[in-house]
C-alpha cells in the first residue's frame, strides 16, 4: 500500500498513542506523468471505481484519473444516495443486483466506511393499476433471485408506520413493493474511499486538470490534450456522466444523450421519522424521500424537463417535489429547506446506461447513467475495468452498448419512447 493507512481498531489505538498528526491524507498528491496505460477522464464515482478495478483486478499499474475540478465534485456528491436493484428488465436488474451485492461488501473491500444502510426501498402504490405494475416488477426481480416483497396496505403501514396518517388521503395508499436490501450509502465516502484505495494501488489522481481533446494516429487514440499538457495513453476511458455531450463534441459524434437537470433538496434536521426510502409517484409528480443520518429529510423527484447544463433547478419542480412529499408525509409541512441543488444528468434515449467503445478501438465511454449512476458505481467500475483491460465486454454490460440504438434492442425500462426527458 503506497502510503495508505489501514483503518482498524488497532489503528485507532496507535493514533491515540501517537497523538495529533498521525492520520495522513486519504490519497497522495500525485504528479502527472507523460504516459499511461490507461487515462480515465473524470474523478467521480465511475472513473475512480474503474481506475481502482483496473489496478486491483487487472494489475494495470500505470493509470491516471484526470479531473476538471476536485475529486467527487460532480454527481457523486450531488445525488440522493439511494442504492437499490428493483429494475424490471433482466439486463438492468442483474447489473444493479451485482452492484447491490458489491455495496454490501464495499466498506470491507475498500477498508473505508461507506455507511451502507440497508433500510429498505419502498415503492408505493395508490391504485390497483400501480399494484399490477409493482407486482410485475417484483415478480421479474424474484425470478432473477433478487429480494422483492409485494405488500398490501397493512404491510406497508407495518413496515413504515410513519405513513399512517389520521386524516383522509386524497389518494389512499394501496400497497407497495419493498426491497429490504436497498437503502442508502454515504455518497462522498464512496468517492473518497475509491480515491484512497486507487491511490494506494499506485493510480495517479490529478485534480484541476481538464481534458480538452484527444490526439489520434492510424485510427487509434494516442493520448489526451489537457490543461496541464499532452498525456500519452494506450487506452482512454471517459467517465464524465452529465457532460458526456461534450465528449461527443470532442470526438465529432452525436450521441443518443440529452443533458437534463435533476434536483434534490434537504430539510433542517429532525428526530428519526422516515425509516426507509419512500418512493411516491403519481401522474403529476414524484418524490423519493429518505432521512439522512444527520436527520435532514432528503427529497428528489422528476427531471426539470428540458436540456440544461446550468445546475440551476426550476422552481416549479422544487414546488412539486415538496408538494408530493408533503402529500405522502404531512408531518413534513412545517419544515424549512436548508439546501437545494441540481445536477446534470446524461439522459439516454431508453433510460439505460452506455458502456462501450466510442469512435476508436481504444477509447471507452462510461456514461448515460440517467438517474441510475450512483447506485451503479461498484458494478460499473468492475465491469468497465474488465472491458478496458481485456477488450471484451463482460456479460453484465454486453447489452448496454451503443449498437442497441442502431438495432432497436432498447433497454426501455419505462417504455416511454425515444424521449430522454420522459425516462
Amino acid at each position: 500500500m503506497n502510503g495508505a493507512q489501514r483503518y482498524s481498531a488497532w489503528a485507532l489505538l496507535r493514533a491515540r498513542l501517537a497523538g495529533p498528526g498521525y492520520w495522513r491524507s486519504l490519497w497522495s498528491g500525485a504528479t502527472l506523468k507523460d504516459a499511461y496505460d490507461v487515462v480515465v477522464v473524470g474523478a467521480g464515482g465511475h472513473g475512480l471505481a474503474t481506475a481502482y478495478h483496473l489496478a486491483h483486478d487487472h494489475g494495470i499499474k500505470r493509470v491516471a484519473v484526470l479531473e476538471k475540478h476536485l475529486v467527487g465534485y460532480g454527481n457523486v456528491g450531488r445525488n440522493t444516495t439511494i442504492v437499490r436493484s428493483n429494475y424490471l428488465l433482466p439486463e438492468n436488474h442483474y447489473f444493479y443486483e451485482d452492484s447491490l451485492r458489491r455495496w454490501e461488501r464495499l466498506s470491507r473491500v475498500l477498508n473505508y466506511n461507506v455507511m451502507y444502510s440497508p433500510r429498505g426501498v419502498l415503492d408505493l402504490a395508490q391504485s390497483d393499476g400501480d399494484m399490477i405494475g409493482l407486482a410485475r416488477r417484483g415478480n421479474a426481480m424474484r425470478l432473477a433471485g433478487i429480494d422483492a416483497e409485494l405488500l398490501d396496505r397493512g404491510g406497508v403501514l407495518e413496515f413504515a408506520p410513519e405513513l399512517a396518517v389520521s386524516g383522509p388521503r386524497r389518494f389512499e395508499l394501496v400497497g407497495g413493493l419493498l426491497q429490504r436490501r436497498g437503502g442508502t450509502v454515504r455518497h462522498d465516502a464512496v468517492a473518497w474511499g475509491y480515491a484512497r484505495a486507487a491511490s494506494a494501488l499506485g493510480v495517479d489522481i490529478i485534480e484541476d486538470c481538464e481534458v480538452t481533446g484527444i490526439r489520434t494516429a492510424g485510427g487509434l487514440a494516442t493520448g489526451v490534450e489537457s490543461t496541464r499538457g499532452y498525456v500519452k495513453a494506450e487506452r482512454i476511458v471517459f467517465a464524465v456522466a452529465g457532460h458526456t455531450g461534450t465528449v461527443g463534441g470532442m470526438l465529432g459524434l452525436t450521441l443518443p444523450i440529452e443533458t437534463h437537470l435533476l434536483q434534490a433538496m434537504v430539510t433542517e434536521p429532525i428526530k428519526p421519522l422516515v425509516g426507509s426510502v419512500h418512493v411516491y409517484a403519481h401522474p403529476h409528480g414524484e418524490a423519493y424521500v429518505t432521512q439522512s443520518d444527520r436527520g435532514g429529510v432528503v427529497m428528489g423527484g422528476f427531471l426539470d424537463g428540458f436540456p440544461s447544463y446550468t445546475r440551476e433547478g426550476q422552481w416549479y419542480r422544487l414546488e412539486d417535489v415538496v408538494q408530493t412529499a408533503v402529500a405522502l408525509l404531512p408531518h413534513l409541512a412545517g419544515l424549512r429547506i436548508l439546501r437545494h441543488w441540481a445536477g446534470t444528468n446524461d439522459m439516454t434515449m431508453d433510460g439505460s446506461f452506455i458502456i462501450d467503445r466510442i469512435r476508436h478501438d481504444n477509447v471507452f465511454l462510461n456514461g448515460g447513467w440517467c438517474y441510475g449512476g450512483f447506485k451503479a458505481i461498484p458494478a460499473s467500475g468492475a465491469a468497465c475495468a474488465t472491458f478496458v483491460a481485456t477488450g471484451t465486454a463482460p456479460d453484465l454490460i454486453r447489452a448496454h452498448g451503443l449498437s442497441r440504438f442502431k438495432t432497436g434492442h432498447l433497454l426501455d425500462e419505462r417504455g416511454a419512447g425515444p424521449f430522454p426527458s420522459r425516462q
Binding site: 455531450g245 428540458f306 447544463y309 426550476q314 416549479y316
Partner: protein, 79 residues
C-alpha cells in the same frame, strides 16, 4: 431561464411550456431518431406552449447559461 416568449402570448412562465426534443445535427440517417446534438452552448429544440395557445415552437437556446436566442413558430411557412 424562467420564461419563454411565445410569439402569440408574449413572455410566459416556463411551466406553461412542454419541452419535446432537441434536434439531431445529422438528418436523414435512420440512427438519427436516437441521436441528439447535445452541445454545451447551443441547442435547437422543439417546444409546445401546452398550457397556453398550444403553438409548436422552435427554440434556440444556450443550455449552459439558459439564454434564449430565438423562438420561432413551427409549421408550414415557418420551419
Amino acid at each position: 431561464m424562467s420564461s419563454l416568449a411565445c410569439p402569440f402570448c408574449g413572455p410566459r412562465e416556463l411551466d406553461e411550456f412542454l419541452f419535446h426534443k432537441t434536434l439531431p445535427e445529422a438528418q436523414g440517417d435512420e440512427y438519427a431518431v436516437y441521436e441528439r446534438a447535445n452541445r454545451i452552448d447551443d441547442s435547437l429544440e422543439h417546444w409546445q406552449h401546452v398550457r397556453g395557445c398550444r403553438a409548436w415552437l422552435r427554440v434556440r437556446r444556450n443550455p449552459s447559461t439558459g439564454e434564449v436566442r430565438e423562438v420561432q413558430l413551427l409549421g408550414r411557412g415557418h420551419s
